[in-house]
C-alpha cells in the first residue's frame, strides 16, 4: 500500500527519441513542442502524475537506432517511448519495443509495416500510414477525370508505399498508372526524369518527396513548364513546411493529408493560438502529431488513474479512446493507427488551405497485422 503510494508519486519516465541533428531535426523539434504543449495545458501533469523526460538524438540513422532506443529502454528504463520521424529508425524502435514490451507511440513515421506486419498491443501511432493520404489522392485524381497518370518517388519504403497507395486509389476510380519513376533517396537531380515525363505526356503526375527534395522537385517541375499542361499531385508532404521555399512554383497545387491550414474549427484555432503564444512560431502537422501523442498517452494514464502498472487496462483504454485532435476527432483502428479524415488541400500563398474532405474516416487496411 505504502509502496503503491510512492509509485504514484514517482514521475512517469517518458523517452523522447527524435532527430536533433540532420535533415529531419526540424520535424523532431515540432513534435516535441506539440507534445509538451499538451502536457503544459494539463498543468504539467497527466492524471496527477509528473513526467520526467529522457531525450536521445536518433540522428535519423537506422544503423544506430537499436543502440539509441536501448539507451532509453535499458539505461533509463522509461515507461513509454515517443518516436520518431524516420521510418527506418521507427521500425528498429518497434522491433525493440516488441522485444522488451515497452509502450511505444509513433508521432510521425508512416511506414505501413509498423501498424501492419510489425503491429503489437503496445505499439501505437498518432500520425498516418504512407498508404492513407496517397490512396485518397488517387481517388481524387480519378474523380477529376484523369485517365493516364505517372508516379515519381524516391526509391525507399515511404516513397514506394505512397506510390502504391496512389495506384490503388487511382485504378479503383478507373484510371491507369503507366509508369512508376524512381530515383535514389535523397538524390534531387530530377531533370532527366522530367524529360521522361515530358516525352510520355500523361494526364497527371503523382509525386512523393519531402523536405529539400520536395522544394526542388516542385520548383523544377514548374521551371520545365510541365505544370501548365500536366497537373502535379502528391501527399501533403510535398507542400508541407516547404511553401516558403517553393514560392510561386507551388501555387494552386492540390495535395491530400490528414491535416490542413484554415480548418477553422474551434479546436484547431485554440490549438494554433496557444502553440503560437508558447513558441512564437506556427504549428504544423508534425506539431499536431506530437500533441496527439501526448493526448493518447494521457487517455491511457487517466483510465488507470495514474497507476501505470495496470498496463493491460491502460493499453485497452488507449486503443478504444477517441482523440479530440486539432485535425478533427479520430479513433484508432484495430492495428492502433488513426482512422481519420483525409483533407483535400490547395496551396494559396504560404498556406495549404482545406478545400474539402477527400475521404471520411479512412482506415489503413493494415495488411499482415495479427494481434
Amino acid at each position: 500500500m505504502v509502496q503503491a503510494q510512492q509509485a504514484q508519486q514517482a514521475p512517469i519516465k517518458v523517452g523522447l527519441m527524435l532527430p536533433a541533428t540532420g535533415t529531419y531535426a526540424g520535424l523532431g523539434d515540432m513534435i516535441e513542442k506539440g507534445f509538451k504543449l499538451f502536457v503544459s495545458e494539463q498543468g504539467g501533469k497527466l492524471a496527477g502524475r509528473e513526467l520526467q523526460y529522457f531525450k536521445v538524438d536518433d540522428e535519423s540513422d537506422p544503423a544506430k537506432a537499436t543502440d539509441n532506443v536501448n539507451k532509453l529502454i535499458k539505461r533509463d528504463q522509461v515507461d513509454v517511448l515517443i518516436g520518431t520521424v524516420h521510418s527506418g529508425v521507427a521500425m528498429a524502435m518497434a522491433k525493440a519495443a516488441r522485444e522488451s514490451n515497452t509502450l511505444l507511440i509513433v508521432p510521425n513515421a508512416g511506414a505501413d509495416v509498423i501498424t501492419g506486419a510489425m503491429c503489437a498491443k503496445n505499439i501505437f501511432r498518432t500520425s498516418f500510414t504512407n498508404w492513407q493520404p496517397a490512396y485518397a489522392m488517387g481517388i481524387v485524381a480519378a474523380k477529376n477525370g484523369h485517365k493516364k497518370a505517372m508516379t515519381i518517388t524516391w526509391n525507399y519504403a515511404a516513397g514506394i508505399e505512397s506510390a502504391k497507395g496512389f495506384v490503388e486509389g487511382f485504378e479503383k476510380g478507373g484510371g491507369k498508372v503507366t509508369q512508376n519513376l524512381t530515383l535514389p533517396f535523397p538524390n534531387v537531380e530530377f531533370q532527366a526524369l522530367l524529360t521522361e515525363i515530358a516525352a510520355q505526356k500523361p494526364d497527371a503526375v503523382f509525386a512523393f518527396f519531402a523536405g529539400g527534395g520536395a522544394v526542388k522537385f516542385v520548383k523544377d517541375y514548374a521551371a520545365s513548364g510541365l505544370n501548365k499542361t500536366i497537373p502535379l499531385y502528391g501527399p501533403g508532404f510535398l507542400t508541407d513546411g516547404t511553401l516558403e521555399a517553393q514560392g510561386a512554383a507551388a501555387q494552386g497545387m492540390s495535395t491530400t493529408l490528414h491535416y490542413a491550414d484554415r480548418l477553422n474549427t474551434p479546436r484547431d484555432n485554440t490549438f494554433r493560438l496557444s502553440f503560437a503564444k508558447l513558441y512564437k512560431t506556427n504549428a504544423d502537422v508534425y506539431a499536431v502529431q506530437g500533441y496527439d501523442a501526448a493526448q493518447l498517452l494521457a487517455a491511457g494514464i487517466k483510465a488507470v488513474d495514474g497507476d501505470i502498472k495496470k498496463r493491460d487496462q491502460m493499453i485497452a483504454a488507449m486503443a478504444s479512446s477517441q482523440i479530440d485532435s486539432p485535425r478533427g476527432k479520430f479513433t484508432l483502428s484495430a492495428a492502433h493507427n488513426p482512422v481519420q479524415d483525409i483533407y483535400l488541400r490547395k496551396v494559396n500563398g504560404n498556406l495549404n488551405e482545406a478545400q474539402s474532405v477527400a475521404i471520411k474516416a479512412l482506415a489503413d487496411p493494415a495488411k499482415g497485422c495479427r494481434m
Binding site: 537506422p62 544503423a63 537499436t66 543502440d67 539505461r75 522491433k95 525507399y156 533517396f185
Partner: protein
Amino acid sequence: MSTSVSLYRSARLPLAALLIAAAMPWFLSEYTQSLLVNILIYAIFALSLELLVGTTGLVSLGHAAFSGVAAYVTALLMEVTGPGDMLLVLPAAMLGAGAYALFVGALSLRTRGVYFIMVTLAFAQMAFFIFHDTAIGGGSDGMYLSSRPSLALAGKVLIDLESPQQFYFFTLACLAVTYALLAVLLRSRFGRALAGIRLNEQRMRAVGFPTYGYKLAAFVIAGMLAGLAGFLMAARTGVVNPELLSWHESGAVLLMLILGGLGSLRGAVIGAAAFILLKEFYSSEAVFGPFALHWQMSLGVTMILCVALLPHGLIGLRFPLKLRSGLRAKQGVTHG
C-alpha cells in the same frame, strides 16, 4: 628464453584486461553490457584498420566498406537460410569483405599518399551506392534480421547469439583472437616487412621485396577482420543499413585509432573504447542538459584538440609507467 619472457611481458596487460572483461557481465547492468559489446566490436574494427594505418602506413578512409559488405552478406544469407548457421554465415561474411578488399586494394594500391586516401574513400562510397541505390539489400531502408546466428554441431547448439551473455563472450573471444592473431602477425617476417614498407618502401623494393603483393595481402587481411566486426554488428542490432558503409563510419574508426595511439594494438582497443564513451558522455542529457543535442560540436572540438595535443594518442600518456619500467631495466629486474 628471452623471447618467451618478452612475449609474456607484452601479453601480461592484454591478458589481464581480458580476464577483467570476462568477469564484467556479473557486475554490469544490461545496458552497460550492451555498450561494452559495442566497444568490443569497434575494437575489432579498429584493430583491423591498425594493420593498414599503424603498421603498413596506408591511410585508408574507406574501411567501413568492408564491415558493411560483411554485414550485408550476413543479412542476405540469413534471409535465404533462415536461422543463421554461424559455420556458414561467418566465413561467408569475412570472405565477402575480403573479396571486396581484394578488388579495392588491387586498384587503390597503385596510387600513393593522398591519392590513396581519396581513392579508398571513393570506393567505399561506391559500395555504399550499390546497397543504397539497388534493391539487393532493401535499398536505403536496409534489411532486418529475423533472428541471430547460432552455432550447432550434430544437432547440439553450442553458441546461440540470441542470448546476450553468450553474445558478450563470443564477441570477447573474437576480440581476443583478433588481437592475438595480429600480435603474432606483427612479430612474423610478414609483419616486419609491412613495418619496413611503412618506414621506407623504396628501400624494401630495392632489397627485393614485392611490396605491392605484401600491401595487398595486408589490405585483404584487414578487410576480412573488418568483416568479422561487420558480422557482429549485424548480429548485434539485427538491422543492416547502408549507413554502415558511410564515410562517417570510416572517419570515426580512423579517429578511434589516432585517439588511442597509432602503432600499437593496445592503442586501437583503448581508442575504440574512449571514442564510444566520449560520444556517450557528450550526448548524455544527465551531464550536459540541453547541450547534449549538440554532441557533434563537443566531439569535433575534442577530436581536434586530441589530434593537435596528443600526437601519440592516449597510449602516449603512459609516461610515468615508462619511467618506471626504464628504472626497472636499469636495476636488472626482469620479472614481477
